[in-house]
């Protein structure tokens, strides 16, 4: 499959949120967000809600990209800043800062991103396999690539990413002595 085919088959428009419901196919729907200059997408079925960044309690001795924990209606939810994790964009916290609340199995994690732009549908054949060598992001964390409106869209395997030891969100698989 070539890039031109994918470009021809594109159905949606980064920046426009109206037409996402028009086409649903095997590829599924994705929430598009930006980190710095790059566009990323996550499976919309993993997204619980989108909220602002507020009242985050710092956790001592945690990696810098783990901003802390917040209270999500009585549940304590960790907040990860992907901008810090992947050194993308400026990690500023304003009233416009967005947290995407993701469900990973039974767990709930909030991720800080620069902005949420759209929900798009992608057919399975629009999604290309990720490259073997990633730049900043471990290519294991990418589920695929797609081209939408001449932008490259990196589709995250958010579940794999959040459960990896690298994110330090969960107890390591092997119990330390």
């Amino acid at each position: 499959m070539s890039h031109t085919q994918v470009a021809a088959a594109q159905t949606s428009n980064v920046g426009l949120a109206q037409d996402h419901a028009s086409k649903v196919n095997d590829g599924g729907e994705y929430l598009v967000f930006s980190l710095g200059e790059e566009h990323y997408a996550v499976d919309i079925l993993k997204v619980q809600e989108i909220r602002g960044y507020e009242n985050v309690t710092r956790i001592a001795n945690a990696p810098a990209f783990i901003k802390g924990v917040t209270n999500l209606r009585g549940v304590i939810v960790p907040i990860v800043d992907l901008r810090l994790k992947f050194q993308l964009g400026q990690a500023e916290y304003t009233a416009q800062t967005v947290v995407i609340v993701i469900n990973i199995g039974e767990r709930v994690v909030g991720i800080v991103v620069d902005g949420v732009s759209d929900v798009i549908s992608l057919a399975a054949d629009q999604v290309l396999p990720p490259p073997e060598f990633g730049a900043r992001m471990n290519s294991d964390f990418l589920a695929g690539l797609a081209t939408v409106n001449d932008h490259m869209l990196l589709i995250m395997d958010i579940e794999h990413m959040m459960t990896s030891d690298e994110m330090a969100l969960m107890e390591p698989a092997a119990q330390p002595a």
């Binding site: 001592a60 924990v69 304590i76 709930v108 969960m170």
Partner: protein, 738 residues
Amino acid sequence: MDISEFYDTFFEEAQELLAEMERLLLALDVEAPDAEQLNAIFRAAHSIKGGAATFGFTVLQDTTHHLENLLDRARRGELRLSIQHIDRFLETKDMLDDQLAAYRNAQSPDPEAYAHIVAVLKQLGEESSVIDAPSAPVPSDIDGPSAPVPSGEASAPVGSDMATPPTLEPRPNADASVPLLSVTLMFVADRERELLIEELANLGEVISSSGDEQVCRVIVSTTVSAADIEAVLCFVIEPEQILIEPATAAPPAEVDGVVDDVVGGVADGQVEATVDAGSSADISSTGMEETSSTGAAGPSAATPASGERRSQPGRRATDAPTEQGSIRVGVDKVDTIINLVGELIITQSMLEQTASATTPPDQAALVSGISQLQRNARDLQEAVMSVRMMPMDYVFSRFPRLIRDLASRLGKQVELVSQGHDTELDKSLIERIIDPLTHLVRNSLDHGIESPSEREASGKSVHGTLTLSARHQGGNIVIEVMDDGAGLDRARILAKARSNGLAVSDGMSDDEVWQLIFAPGFSTAEQVSDVSGRGVGMDVVKRNIQALGGHVELASVTGQGTTTRIVLPLTLAILEGMAIRVGEEIYILPLSVVVESLQPQADMLFSMVGNDRLLKVRDEYLSLVALHEVFAVPGAQTQPEQGIVVVVQGKGRHYALLVDELIGQQQVVVKNLERNYRKVPGVSSATILGDGRVSLILDVSDLHRLANQMPAVQRQAEVATESAMPQGAIMPRDAIVS
């Protein structure tokens, strides 16, 4: 009606019955068994069998059936019980547990285990018969439970309701001294009526039955009490539908026929078959063994019983005697209520904060309203929490069996003393305390209590004593496992620690030596037994207890025994806390660990090699841990004299924690941090403050460990305390750091 709706009820009740059976078996005096106890054990087995048959759990039904046969003979005095019997019965009980679990998970029970246990029970039946009745030789390949018993003995029920047992009477059912009962069944459909009558036939001899769907009168000749009959029938129908009264009327004509049949059977096989009527028939229907001539001679009346009951849809699950004042509620429902109450408390504390900030005119009314809300919320919360509380008896009751089995396997004599059965503990804690406690008990039996000969040699009583106790102490529950065994062997622990590569010295205090056994992979058992000594022990216990927010303490005196003490918070859900501020951050200290707080003066501070600091409080030197250093809090007070020191108690050891400010005491709702995140060093859990922000609850034991781990250089680049350093007055805080 879908019968599967009642599965859960059956499973619950069967499990309770099994637990009761085990308790009774353990309490049974083998030399002089109490008739009432034997009856109760038999009833439990019988009830399970009845339920299993109703629901078509054939393996469970058949296993209980074999057990029931033996129990029946035991309570009739035909079978002399021995320790071996009890062992086998307990083994069967375990097997029944397994089978029940299998059915509960919609699986088939293990057929091998089933075949094994049936064989064991049969074997037992045969052996007992041979011992009890040497004059009636039995071919060894005959099925055990229906094994022949001389008629004379069989019809002499010991421990039954009979005042004058007939001796050597071959026609027991015709004997006038067997009470006749009239069982009236009301509004019972035909099929169920048949079923019930067959069930009655298992309990005694059905003399007559007449009537229709509305009222059916059954005359039964039986030694079983009315209450027992009712309990059995209640598996199928409601107690209101049953009326049992003594029947005095002369037996109707067909009695003769029935009795003749029975007598015929007795005559042919030289056995009393009626006692085991239902049993032998059931066995032959399982196809597990060849039908012997003796078995075939048994009355066939009960055969359809087992066959039909299986296919019978049955109206109800069990309706066993209801426990007064208790209901079964799903834990998830209770958890929902608890969460809501937690939210209520948070809202209330939020209102309280707002109220104190409003202007005077309205404030008084608002404040009084809120204080009332606070009282109500507290009461409600306590009431709701109590729903989750369970008595420790739930845990303790499983130990008599464990100890009995272990002691006999290890050849030791151990007496179990347990105290504080009524002490209540949160359900989630109680379920998670079982494994660690079991481990400690095993350890005590295996390593602690000596063999009888060793005990005698050291002048102790031959019986070792293991004491389990539970009590409340402040906001904690303290559970102790205490043995009067040999105590921990200091030299051996040290030697083992050295060979494991741990840093140890002979100068270590006993407490420090005892702590070594909590290291992973540590076991001083010279031989790995199947009881303990695999080295996956105490460290797991410690970890489990810590995961519950508690800690483990050890005390041991050589030659006198060891005490392991588990200290746990009463509940995982609510905590009395002290809010403290460091920099801009607010943390919660559990009030139970706070000893005192004070503002340190310069002359109370001493610095030591490696920049460790000590605080002298009265006559005690405490190590000073600065929270802002351990947690790298920006903008915090670095001069101890400017801050506040909280003396806390972690793992039995006091130390001083430096913070900026005490905010106040408040009740907090404990929230799990690990549900969505991971364990944070120095932190046990989190809570939500009145303003909706998350605050972390400190784990003072872990905090101390964390402080010790941090390189002193990193800890204190900036501060050099100027106080005088008393030379040689103070030993280094920790001789070892592992």
